[in-house]
Amino acid sequence: MGNRVLLADDDQLLASLLNFRLKKGGYQVHHSSNGKEVKEYLQNEMPDIIVSDIMMPYCSGIELIDYVRNELKSKTPIIIISSAGNEQNVLTAFELGANDFITKPVSPTELLVRIAREINK
């Protein structure tokens, strides 16, 4: 059984590519395109790693980190996908407990390396 990845990204295009690559890399992927759904999913199941876009409808990546760390009290690694020029957000994300971040445009290969590194820590 491969590791379970929660992929939270409302950009269907990027999500499709990442989904494809993660599955090829042997991961089980749950993809969700809005923050509300992500929260509901997390109430029932905790994946091995969370990859989340910082900008999402209903619940931003920042809120998501806060929710996972402070409400669910989970230490599941979180990788944030951010856009260039959003450095302030990245700092906030780290302060709230994000483990790593990757900047758009996302290289799937790089993301897979970063995921593997977090999981094997």
């Binding site: 409302d10 950009d11 269907q12 295009l13 990027l14 499709s16 590519l17 494809f20 690559r21 090829k24 900008m55 856009s83 758009k104 445009p105 996302v106 290289s107 799937p108 290969t109």
Partner: protein, 586 residues
């Protein structure tokens, strides 16, 4: 006298030849140089006189007083026709250059000024065309034809066209053809449709609500000779009694402010009356202010070769048998006359062609570079940019794919000079209007490019030749690598990308009206990643700029950038499709 004028011209010419021959240019002294210059000048003014007052010399002396006046009128009208033609050429340049200017990066203020130039020159052009039309008709230069045509379907076509003119109002369009109106008659169908479109067009312009009704019935019949009455009744603003009397005088619109409110040059009805007069008909206006106008005219027709079933069967056999040859052919039609355009599109579509009509030069060039067009049909005598100019622009295009597409010209009159011009420009063939379906079919078959033979060759040639605009470049090789070379995945992603782009276009369209820049910025932000994935760096930069203009609250700039996006994105998508196609083949 005309002969003596020409002799005059010739003697001026030979004198010029002598003058030039006698002197070697190196040792021209001031005096000789002046003589040469004078000679040139007098040649020029003589030539000018000859051109601009065509038949005046011939008429003036030996005729009777009355004749002189009549002839003078005719020659004045020919003069108008000529000058109108001459004015059109520089005016077309103005319009053309204004178009080009619009493509450059302009400030909002400059943009508005170019718009104003375009509007003014287009209005002027319309006016000149109408003056030309008027003078052509009244001087007898206009060609009238006598052919068998289906009156009923002409009426239906005309009504169909009118329907397309009414967009924003609730007006009922009614057509009532009495059963004793013959189907096939002999006469001039294009002039009849011109008259009807003119009258119906007027009604459409002046009716705010209510109906427009075209009634047709036989007023008199004597054997095969028919007197048919057409009446166009509307519930428009109406015309006051005293104005009706002057309404057929050129340039007189009912009220001084009419043109301001409703546009137009005021020549439409004058032209219509001239045509009707020339065809032996009669026109009448009956109107009540604020309740409506009825314009009716009677026109003589003779019964045509009444063999509608015969005609139909010919049409059928053509379209099923020979039409197959053309199935899948992609054709560009440059034709400004809506009626003709409608008919030709109809026919070509029946033959299974893909037709692009209602286009201007810009759109045409875009289609030519982005699609595989097999043939161009070109009306030579279009107002605005005429067929010669459009053809020239196509032939001079730097992209070989665009410049090599066969062009078939068509026109109602085709002079020696036209034939020369066609050759020079590189127009492949021509059709004289009115043409039969067989002629049309044969000419297309003869000239259309053979797809299979040329494809590979032109593809090879095309590659280094295209210099695509930065904002239309894409490269899918990286994304394909990210997909581990799985083309299916790539196709899926490209599909998603296109959806995103469409969503963006729709989103901006809505939010630009309400100036909701925050939403637009969000939308642009979302799209950036996609453009990065397909390595469309130029377009990505544009989107980045658009996003930042949203954030710095510059709605005008956002709008400008969006316009560029709208223009370039289709080109980008074409490149994307081509790129994908190549990968699908591999």
């Amino acid at each position: 006298m005309a002969i003596s004028k020409s002799k005059d011209l010739l003697s001026q010419l030979s004198q010029l030849e002598r003058t030039v021959g006698e002197y070697s240019f190196e040792d021209l002294n001031a005096h000789e140089a002046k003589a040469l210059k004078d000679s040139f000048n007098s040649f020029r003014s003589s030539l000018e006189k000859h051109i601009y007052t065509p038949n005046l010399g011939e008429i003036l002396p030996e005729r009777t007083e009355n004749n002189v006046i009549n002839k003078k009128e005719v020659s004045e009208k020919q003069f108008i026709a000529h000058v109108s033609h001459e004015i059109r050429t520089p005016l077309n340049s103005i319009i053309g250059f204004a178009n080009l200017l619009k493509d450059e990066k302009l400030t909002q203020g400059q943009h508005k000024k170019v718009d104003a130039i375009q509007f003014a020159s287009n209005t002027l052009l319309k006016l000149i065309n109408e003056v030309l039309e008027y003078s052509k008709i009244s001087s007898g230069n206009n060609n009238f034809e006598t052919v068998d045509f289906n009156l009923h379907s002409l009426l239906k076509d005309v009504m169909f066209l009118c329907e397309t003119l009414i967009l924003d109002r609730k007006i009922e369009l009614l057509l009532d053809i009495d059963e004793d109106v013959p189907k096939i008659v002999k006469g001039d169908p294009s002039k009849l449709s011109q008259i009807l479109l003119n009258l119906l067009g007027n009604s459409v312009k002046f009716v705010e609500k209510g109906y427009i009704k075209l009634e047709v019935f036989t007023k008199k019949r004597k054997g095969n000779d028919f007197l048919i009455e057409f009446s166009v009744a509307d519930t428009g603003i109406g015309i006051s009694e005293e104005k009706i009397e002057t309404i057929f005088n050129g340039y007189a619109q009912a009220e001084n402010d009419t043109s301001k409110k409703y546009g137009g040059t005021g020549l439409g009805l004058t032209i219509t009356k001239e045509i009707i007069d020339k065809l032996g008909g009669e026109i009448n206006i009956d109107s009540t202010v604020n309740s409506g106008t009825t314009v009716s005219f009677v026109m003589p027709y003779t019964l045509g070769a009444n063999s509608s079933s015969y005609q139909k069967s010919i049409k059928k056999s053509t379209s099923t048998k020979d039409g197959k040859i053309l199935a899948g052919t992609e054709i560009l039609v440059f034709e400004d006359n809506k009626m003709n355009e409608h008919l030709i599109v109809e026919q070509l579509t029946q033959w299974g062609c893909t037709v692009h009509a209602d286009i201007d030069l810009d759109k045409g060039l875009y289609l030519l570079s982005s699609r595989k067009i097999d043939l161009i049909l070109m009306d030579l005598k279009m107002p605005g940019q005429n067929g010669f100019e459009v053809s020239k622009a196509i032939r001079n295009h730097k992209n070989n794919k665009v410049s090599s597409v066969p062009i078939v010209a068509f026109s109602a009159d085709f002079t020696e000079q036209d034939s020369k011009d066609c050759k020079e420009i590189g127009i492949d063939d021509f059709l004289l209007k009115p043409y039969t379906l067989d002629e049309l079919l044969n000419t297309i078959v003869k000239n259309k490019e053979d797809k299979k033979e040329h494809t590979d060759f032109s593809l090879i040639l095309q590659k280094p030749m295209i210099e695509p605009k930065e904002t239309t470049v894409v490269d899918l090789t990286y994304l394909l690598k990210d997909c581990f070379g799985e083309v299916d995945m790539l196709n899926e992603l490209v599909k998603l990308f296109k959806l995103n782009a469409i969503e963006f276009i729709g989103n901006v369209k809505i939010n630009i009206k309400t100036q909701n820049l925050k939403e637009i910025a969000m939308s642009a932000h979302k799209l950036k990643a996609g453009f990065a994935m397909i390595k469309a760096d130029g377009m990505r930069n544009l989107i980045v700029e658009l996003e930042s203009c949203c954030k710095t609250n510059q709605p005008e700039k956002v709008k400008d950038l969006y316009e560029i996006f709208l223009k370039d994105y289709p080109l980008l998508e074409d490149n994307l499709n081509k790129n994908l196609e190549l990968m699908n083949k591999k």
